[in-house]
């Protein structure tokens, strides 16, 4: 290859790389990151986006260049050169994506485990429906993610379904979530049941979720986490809220006519506000268990009585 060519190729590649890195960091596509997991997520997202963007520029670049440079001129009835293959080129463009894809897989796996960091692969007993799985070695948490992977597969082999654990540690705020057509109910300790989710900033939160009727999904876009909520089985989510504010809780699984209306709010409180709110709710709860029906934003409620009945049985 001529030296000039080589230099220009290197320059172009460097420019593409720079543009991709820039775009990866400045894409502005995601809403604010309100939790620790969201920050991890954004790092991964931006990286993969940068890689995708680079491939995008390169291939679209080739297409547009060909469109202009190689279009048939008037009167030119000749054929192109009869090139059938080029083995080294083909090896290169098989190898590079393979390496990139494997790297993306490892990075994703890392983020995946980190996002669910404290999830111990202990065992489960959900609703009496499923077998418990043999206990895993607790010490494995400090090890390499890969080590954990083998461990995870070794222990959950017998179970094809959800890997869920209902228990949380001591310093974890555990909240029971139940989903129904078309509302969320959040159950705190001491009989508190609310329609809005309040969580204290900076503390690990654990949601133990189950559904009453059909499948729903709990999603807070600003936390970048989502989990289906299934009837007859418990699933869970863990996250650490970081930025005080109000965020939407969205149902992300088609659950019937008013699926689109099945929304509520998650409020990340300062620890003081959170305590105050808890106390307030405590009082409400001791007065009237059905009060939460009134507390819910009624815009989405269609069959008030039906729901109220459901809620009453929920809270017991």
């Amino acid at each position: 290859m001529k030296k000039n060519n080589l230099i220009s190729i290197v320059v172009v590649l460097a420019m593409i790389a720079a543009a991709s890195v820039w775009y990866g960091r400045n894409n502005g596509l995601l809403p604010i990151a309100a939790g620790d997991e969201a920050t991890l997520y954004d790092g991964l997202f931006n990286t993969i986006l940068a890689i995708a963007f680079a491939f995008f520029i390169i291939i679209e670049g080739f297409l547009i260049y060909s469109l202009i440079k190689f279009r048939k001129r008037k009167g030119d009835e000749a054929d192109g050169p009869a090139i059938h293959e080029n083995l080294s080129l083909e090896i290169v463009w098989t190898a590079i994506p393979t390496v990139i894809v494997m790297w993306v897989a490892i990075y994703s796996f890392d983020v995946y485990t980190a996002m669910q960091g404290s999830q111990n692969l202990d065992g489960m007993a959900h609703g009496g429906m499923h077998h418990a799985v043999a206990a895993a070695d607790h010490n494995s948490h400090q090890q390499m993610p890969m080590a954990k992977a083998t461990l995870a597969s070794a222990n959950s082999d017998g179970v094809l379904m959800a890997g869920t654990i209902p228990t949380g540690g001591e310093d974890v705020v555990a909240i029971n979530v139940s989903a129904m057509q078309f509302a969320w109910i959040f159950n705190y300790p001491n009989e508190i049941a609310t329609a809005e989710l309040h969580v204290p900033v900076g503390k690990k939160v654990r949601l133990n979720m189950s559904a009453i009727d059909v499948i729903h999904a709990f999603w807070v876009p600003q936390l970048r986490i989502k989990q289906d909520v299934l009837p007859g089985r418990e699933t869970f989510l863990e996250f650490t809220p970081r930025v005080v504010g109000e965020y939407p809780v969205v149902c992300a699984e088609l659950c019937g006519s008013y699926h689109g209306g099945m929304r509520t709010t998650m409020i990340i409180d300062t620890p003081e506000d959170y305590e105050a709110w808890l106390r307030e709710q405590q009082e409400v709860a001791s007065k009237d268990t059905e009060a939460i029906v009134a507390a819910r934003p009624t815009s989405q409620m269609t069959e008030q009585e039906y729901l109220a009945g459901k809620v009453a049985t929920m809270v017991k």
Partner: protein, 209 residues
Amino acid sequence: MQGSIATSTTNLETASHEALHDAHTAHAEHPDLRVFGLIVFLISEGMLFFGLFAAYLTFRSVATAWPPEGTPELELLLPGINTIILVSSSFVIHQADSAIKENKVRAAQLWFLATFVMGAVFIAGQIYEYQHLEFGLTTNLFASTFYVLTGFHGLHVIIGLTLIAAVLVRSLKAGHYSNTSHFGIEAASVYWHFVDIVWIILFLLLYIL
């Protein structure tokens, strides 16, 4: 190109057009691919059962108790006999296949008749079993999977019986089957072997495991 010469070749074309739309001549054009086709199709059928088996195994592995508490024990004797009958019928029908390859039409007919009887006994046995089971289709998850799996298989046995009956009827026409032309016989026996293999897996899964 070739299209431009069409006018002068009317004869040839029409002759071949005929051939194309006439099943018998069309098959004469290329080797008989029907058995190959049947085997490819049976791979697909196999996947149907595979899917149902996989679902069954998943239900089973996820459930706390299997079969769910209160399900009456399955009787083993009758299905056991049934299994022996069905498995041996596979050997019987194989005899028919070998017989026709030696051009023994009469023998093939008899072997087919025997297979038909065995298959019919199997179905009768299954109906008897259904009638004496203490659970119904919707009793519980085990009962439902039991009926759907055996029912689906039973349906296939009935299709197999129909094929065998059709072959028997056709074989009454002298010279319909011979050592060179016996697709029907071959197809029916391939299909029968398939139904048999499915039953063996099914039996192991539902009754033994």
